[in-house]
Amino acid sequence: MFLFADRVEAEIEKKVIEAFEVFDHECNKTVDVREIGSIVRSLGCYPTEAELQELLAEIEEEEPTGYIHLEKFIPVMRKVLLERRGPILKEYINNENKCGYLTKEQLVKYMTEEGEPFTQEEMEDMLSAALDPETNIIRYKDYITLMIADDA
């Protein structure tokens, strides 16, 4: 049992290092702090912006330099991955708005005013993939399926 746990942890660590290194442009075990979100998310997490800020507070230097070091990142990330629980998006959507679609205006209002609002760029990009240009509606079930299907 212990051996197995060790191996799982070792594998997680290797994965974390790999993901980190993809963004390590200067090959000196640091990444720009603005890329941390991408790294954490591509490792399989769905942090809210708030959660991300909390994470950053843990891994940043005492005096933030704009760069995050690998050594600080690994232990924090390892903990996150071992403990994570992903939200069940499908179920949640199924319980909500029954008609199966949103109008463009509804979605834009929702995404840019509620929750942790999208930037304009994010909004445009989501629309370009999710919006049906002829009817101006988003069949969000299909879109969600697309987002989920991409998951490894």
């Binding site: 290797k14 993809v22 090959c27 991408s38 998310r41 994010e122």
Partner: protein, 713 residues
């Protein structure tokens, strides 16, 4: 009471509702942001795949050199036919004196038939010729060989008068436009001219090298650039790139189509291209980069045309480097070694009749040294000659064969050109050998700072590396990389860009992508498409290392279950392929199904090659060798194919395989070779179309339209 409690209830309800809304929104946003992050990760991984495969390819040059060394050391020709064959391997070009060149590449006797509907050129060229040419190429017409040769001759005459470093001033034409690598992508050049205007007395252009190779219209690009060069000689400036080099052309396919004369002329035009351009004495433009020994004063004085190809057989050792630096800085005691006497006659092209292996080996070494540009003339002697010799034929005393066969000075000159054409910037300080490319250096921000200070420059412009946005700054905005070949790896992989500089020398960028499809795709589709292409290449690489991978997997599968963990899979794959890729991030795309988290590796490897059932009859070791060495094989075939017809005789094919298989330590019988031949349909009078042969060994056939059929791997 009642009303307040109902207010309370309403309030609570409203609170709950807005809380739900908040939660829902956050949920969607979380999912969306994760989706985007994963896309970004995929995009970067794809880029890494392309880059690592491209640079691994450049290392093939070294393997090729190993093959030739092997031949020199081990092969004893047992018949005159074999001798001739070997000698042909090494003689890739005769040396021409000026007068002979004119005679050999003569065009005046070539008749242009009445049926020819393409453009006609007459000299001196006029702006109308240039526009007619552009129009003709847009209509997919071709320029008659006579005009091509004429143009090349005139271009060479013009280039000979130019100094090594061109000087451009922004007070004459207000803006200078600098373009980077074009790599035979004519559509990109058309797009640049469309967006920016044609060269003219009020519009200067600098083209920073790598005009040819990889893309399909290398010759057309040369024709267009040279035409504008001759029409507007004060406004159009060309820098030499590392691909304007004979050995590199052989590898990347430029030589395949164009006939011997044209190729010979092009070789002799490339070596006359200037090495650098200076704008207002403030901005230095070179193709690759610099090194800590770059000396502009020395560069100005070199006889640049003597270096037809700057690729060297041996890698420069780090220790040599330090010695060189010391010498250049005047710290060593001795001066460059003196020339060793008058130069004897260059050796004749036929193999002498000798059966003694040692003698033959020596002779072969010598011809290799002469003909594959691994040797340099003794500098001091060459200065006094009147007639120019155009390729690097030279003389070597037998004793010098393993020692450097040129003087210190000569070597320094060659190295300085190599650095200019092949170096890349790196984020760390210092200057070290560029082992990935096999030539030039990696130079750090301190090296840049020193050069800028030494010559009072503001910044450097270079090309040589593909950039996602078409351009990129580094070294604190002191080095600008500009790359003008859009969709270089695949449609949607990157934009191209050019940069404009006015008298204030503030750069303005224009980006573009020369493919309509790229614009209509969503980001997801674009990334997926490029990704597909990268993974196809990666799968082929994996397939090519099947036996190595099986051994590596077996080491983790001591019990012989046929299965390994995914973690061990990643480690094993990297140990065999050595591409430095993030395999755990790539795994979902490479490994589709697992049983209990374990991978059945044998069936996984078999699935990689599902297209190749037809080649089952070919022994598997040999198959892998072909896949792994395809680009080198292509180069070797091209060297043998002396008339550049694309065909070699069955006998030559046979010989090549015998030699190559013994070098690679594979047993190959005559039957085995026949099997190889049978893998393609050939009936060309006993000749083999080697391009067709090599095409048969691609995992996925490239379609005509596909941009990725490029000899990149």
């Amino acid at each position: 009471m009642g009303s307040s409690s109902s207010v309370n209830a309403n309030f609570k309800y409203a609170l709950q509702k807005s809380e739900n809304a908040f939660k829902a929104a956050v949920l969607i946003q979380r999912w969306y942001r994760r989706y985007v992050a994963r896309l970004e990760m995929r995009r970067r991984c794809t880029w890494r795949i392309f880059q690592s495969i491209e640079y691994a390819c450049e290392q093939d040059q070294i393997k090729l050199h190993d093959f030739f060394s092997y031949l020199m050391d081990h092969f004893t020709p047992s018949s005159s036919k074999e001798r001739d064959f070997i000698s042909r391997m090494f003689i890739s070009g005769e040396s021409f004196k000026e007068v002979e060149l004119e005679k050999y590449c003569d065009y005046e006797s070539m008749e242009v038939p009445d049926s020819y509907t393409g453009p006609h050129l007459s000299f001196p060229l006029l702006p109308d010729h240039a526009t007619a040419l552009l129009e003709a190429f847009k209509q997919k017409q071709q320029l008659h060989a006579r005009y091509v040769l004429n143009l090349l001759h005139e271009t060479r005459k013009h280039l000979k008068q130019l100094p090594n470093i061109s000087h451009v001033s922004t007070c004459y034409s207000e803006e200078v436009t600098v373009c980077g690598d074009l790599h035979g992508q004519l559509d990109d050049l058309f797009l640049i001219f469309y967006k920016n205007g044609l060269p003219s007395p009020s519009k200067s252009y600098v083209f920073n090298g790598d005009f040819v190779d990889r893309g399909k219209q290398s010759l057309e690009i040369l024709i267009v650039l040279f035409t504008f060069l001759l029409v507007y000689p004060n406004e159009v400036h060309l820098n030499r790139g590392n691909h304007e080099d004979h050995m590199v052309n052989l590898r990347y396919g430029f030589s395949a189509v164009h006939g011997r004369k044209i190729l010979k002329m092009i070789q002799n035009v490339f070596c006359w291209l200037p090495l650098a351009t200076l704008i207002d004495q403030k901005v230095l433009i070179i193709h690759g980069g610099i090194s800590d020994t770059t000396d502009l004063d020395m560069l100005e004085k070199i006889k640049r045309h003597k270096f037809v190809s700057v690729l060297r057989g041996k890698k420069r050792k780090e220790s040599n480097r330090n010695v060189e630096i010391q010498e250049i800085n005047g710290e060593s005691k001795a001066d460059a070694s003196p020339a060793t006497g008058p130069s004897p006659e260059p050796r004749p092209a036929q193999a002498p009749s000798m059966t003694n292996r040692l003698e033959f080996s020596k002779w072969v070494r010598q011809t290799v040294q002469e003909q594959i540009e691994w040797c340099r003339r003794l500098a001091d002697i060459s200065d006094s000659e009147e007639e120019e010799e155009l390729t690097s034929s030279s003389c070597v005393s037998m004793a010098d064969l393993d020692a450097p066969c040129w003087t210190r000075q000569e070597e320094q000159k060659q190295v300085s050109i190599l650095d200019i054409l092949w170096s890349d910037p790196m984020p760390q300080e210092g200057c070290r050998e560029n082992t990935v490319r096999g030539g030039g250096c990696y130079f750090g921000p301190d090296v840049t700072e020193k050069i800028l200070e030494k010559y009072s420059l503001q910044f450097l412009i270079r090309s040589h590396e593909c950039k996602h946005e078409g351009y990129e700054f580094c070294h604190n905005r002191k080095v600008l990389t500009i790359f003008s070949a859009s969709n270089y790896y695949e449609i949607g992989s990157n934009r191209g860009a050019y940069v404009k500089l006015g008298p204030d020398l503030v750069p303005h960028f224009v980006q573009y992508q020369a493919n309509k499809t790229a614009h209509t795709l969503t980001m997801t589709q674009r990334i997926s498409r490029v990704e597909e292409s990268a993974f196809r290449a990666l799968r082929e690489k994996l397939f090519a290392h099947t036996s190595g991978l099986i051994s590596a997997f077996k080491a983790y599968d001591k019990d012989g279950t046929g299965r390994i963990t995914l973690s061990n899979w990643a480690t094993a794959v990297e140990s065999v392929l050595r591409l430095g890729l993030p395999w755990r991030m790539l795994r979902p795309q490479l490994v589709r199904s697992t049983a209990d988290g374990l991978l059945e590796y044998k069936s996984w490897l078999e699935d990689l090659a599902v297209e190749q059932r037809s080649q089952e009859h070919i022994q598997s070791g040999l198959l892998e060798v072909i896949y792994r060495n395809r680009s080198n094989l292509e180069t070797i075939f091209r060297i043998i194919d002396r008339d550049h017809s694309g065909l070699i005789s069955f006998e030559e094919f046979h010989q090549t395989w015998k030699l190559f298989s013994s070098h690679m330590n594979i047993e190959l019988t005559d039957d085995g070779i026949n099997d190889l031949v049978r893998s393609i349909d050939f009936n060309k009078d006993g000749n083999i179309d080697f391009n067709e042969f090599l095409e048969a060994f691609r995992l996925v056939k490239q379609s005509q339209d596909s941009h990725s059929s490029r000899g990149l791997w």
